[in-house]
């Protein structure tokens, strides 16, 4: 029984993202959240300590609860429904937290980025780009509006794939394409625990400004095709050539 409907896929194709609420079971979310909380330098029972706390990337990759978020829930299967059964390399999302800033002057971000681009500190080798098919942003606790939600610019995946038909993948420093693309209004993704945003690997995105009270407890992952190394520089006429689940 598929998890995604034809409407879901059509929405993803047009907008480059799709949000499915309550996709990850509550017990899996809770276990993952508990693992993260054990690594934070703030007091779970005292929200006043959340402001500008850390770390943003707690080390819980080896905790079984982390793996379960992606692989013992329907998340990976949904991604396969987009790209093709058996086509994705198994991988799972890890925590990318955003902490309350203590500020109240909220606005949508003006600039986003494409993932996989080199900066001096992010581990991506200079002169390379890490390409993947499907991004995952999984909320293991509720993320309310203005609470640092994952923010996307719908439709920019189409602009990006068109752009790279005639330009090098390396042509954006740090993945910043905001000045090149016609940027629509951004969408801040919110939702209860268990919500998942699936996003196209070349969709402009960023983390929103956090003016809320709760820690944005997102698990973010990137799923690549098994044959990604052989095709990532290809720019076919039909941008959905390597997406078996998208008509």
């Amino acid at each position: 029984m598929p998890h995604l409907t034809a409407e879901d896929k059509a929405f993803f194709k047009k907008n480059g993202y799709l949000v499915k609420e309550s996709l990850v079971p509550a017990d899996i979310c809770k276990a993952a959240a508990d693992a993260v909380w054990s690594k934070l330098d703030c007091d779970r029972s005292d929200p006043s300590t959340y402001v500008n706390a850390g770390p943003a990337f707690p080390s819980v990759r080896d905790d079984p609860a982390t793996r379960r978020v992606t692989l013992d829930s329907p998340v990976f299967e949904c991604a396969e429904e987009l790209v093709g059964k058996g086509k994705l390399r198994e991988n799972f999302a890890g925590p990318h937290l955003r902490f309350p800033t203590g500020e109240s002057d909220w606005s949508l971000p003006n600039h986003g980025h494409l993932d996989g681009y080199y900066t001096p500190t992010n581990g991506v080798p200079e002169g390379t780009v890490g390409i993947f098919s499907v991004g995952l942003s999984i909320y293991v606790e509720e993320v309310k509006p203005r609470g640092g939600g994952f923010t996307v610019w719908p439709g920019t995946h189409i602009q990006a794939t068109d752009y790279f038909k005639t330009h090098s993948l390396l042509s954006f420093k740090g993945g910043n394409a905001s000045d090149t693309f016609d940027m629509p209004e951004a969408v801040e993704v919110t939702g209860p625990a268990g919500s998942v945003c699936f996003w196209h690997g070349q969709l402009m995105h960023t983390g929103g400004k956090h003016c809320g009270d709760a820690i944005r407890m997102a698990f973010i992952g990137r799923l690549s095709r098994k044959d990604s190394n052989d095709i990532f520089l290809e720019t076919p006429d039909d941008m959905w050539t390597y997406w078996d689940g998208i008509d």
């Binding site: 001096p120 080798p125 200079e126 002169g127 390379t128 780009v129 790279f164 038909k165 005639t166 330009h167 090098s168 993948l169 390396l170 042509s171 190394n229 052989d230 990532f232 520089l233 290809e234 720019t235």
Partner: protein
């Protein structure tokens, strides 16, 4: 043996213009550089697919790509970081494969023991990752592989798919005996970069110190069937087309 055009003659021209120049000069093969020249297939305004289309439209075959050096170091912080450097080279090699290549040219790092270790280790790693690729290891003055002794130190430690990129110009600049190096590795030469020089100064083919005829005879005897890449670096002649034609004519005359 087949003649191949090099963008060293026209580093400021984009790929399409470079291909036009190569075609007008009578070449049907070309070699490219990932860095250094405007004809690079990673120029901002070109995609690999466009590059392939431009090769096809010009009727020119890409024979190899000069990728980044295997230095074992992270350039922006100058740390020793072989795995990082390997990932850069893997990216370049995948680009080369997208451009239909099954061989690339590369050089080593600095003249240190550390760079020598990383060169051998890195080549082994690449051979394993890309079982259908050939790697032409180039010599360059000041590079980890500068001449005969350096090749002798590296080649026995890596697989046969690591070949010699015999760069005559850099051998002459380093004061190395071109024929001695060619003779030592006659059966393992993958590609030859032809540049004639008087001392360290590039000159028109036939006017410098490169023993063209002896070299070609040796290559013929060894069964070499790779590219003779015509490098006309730092040419100041007003007409690059005429320079390319003259160099091609000179080499073809000797090969006839």
């Amino acid at each position: 043996m087949h003649l191949t055009f090099s963008p060293t003659l026209c580093p400021d021209l984009r790929l399409k213009e470079t291909l036009d120049l190569a075609s007008q000069a009578g070449f049907d093969r070309i070699e490219l550089f990932r860095t250094w020249s405007e004809s690079s297939p990673v120029h901002n305004d070109i995609s690999p697919r466009m590059a392939r289309d431009q090769f096809d439209q010009a009727g020119i075959v890409l024979t190899s790509l000069n990728i980044r050096n295997l230095t074992g170091r992270k350039r922006d912080s100058d740390e020793r970081k072989l795995d990082y450097n390997i990932r850069q080279l893997e990216w370049d090699i995948r680009l080369a494969r997208t451009l239909r290549l099954r061989q690339v040219n590369l050089k080593g790092g600095e003249r240190t023991d550390e760079a020598a270790e990383d060169l051998v280790e890195g080549l082994k790693n690449l051979l394993e990752t890309f079982p259908d690729m050939t790697f032409n290891l180039g010599n360059h003055l000041g590079n980890r592989v500068q001449g005969l002794d350096d090749y002798r130190a590296v080649l026995p430690n890596v697989g046969d798919r690591v070949r010699v990129l015999l760069d005559t110009g850099h051998l002459l600049t380093a004061g190395e005996d071109v024929m001695k190096v060619a003779d030592a590795f006659a059966g393992r030469i993958g590609v030859v970069h032809l540049r004639d020089q008087k001392g360290e100064t590039p000159v028109p083919f036939g006017e410098g110190d490169l023993p063209f005829k002896d070299l070609f005879d040796l290559l013929k005897e060894s069964g070499f069937d790779g590219s003779l890449v015509v490098e006309l670096e730092q040419v100041t002649w007003a007409e690059p087309l005429e320079a390319a034609k003259a160099a091609r004519g000179f080499v073809e005359g000797l090969l006839a």
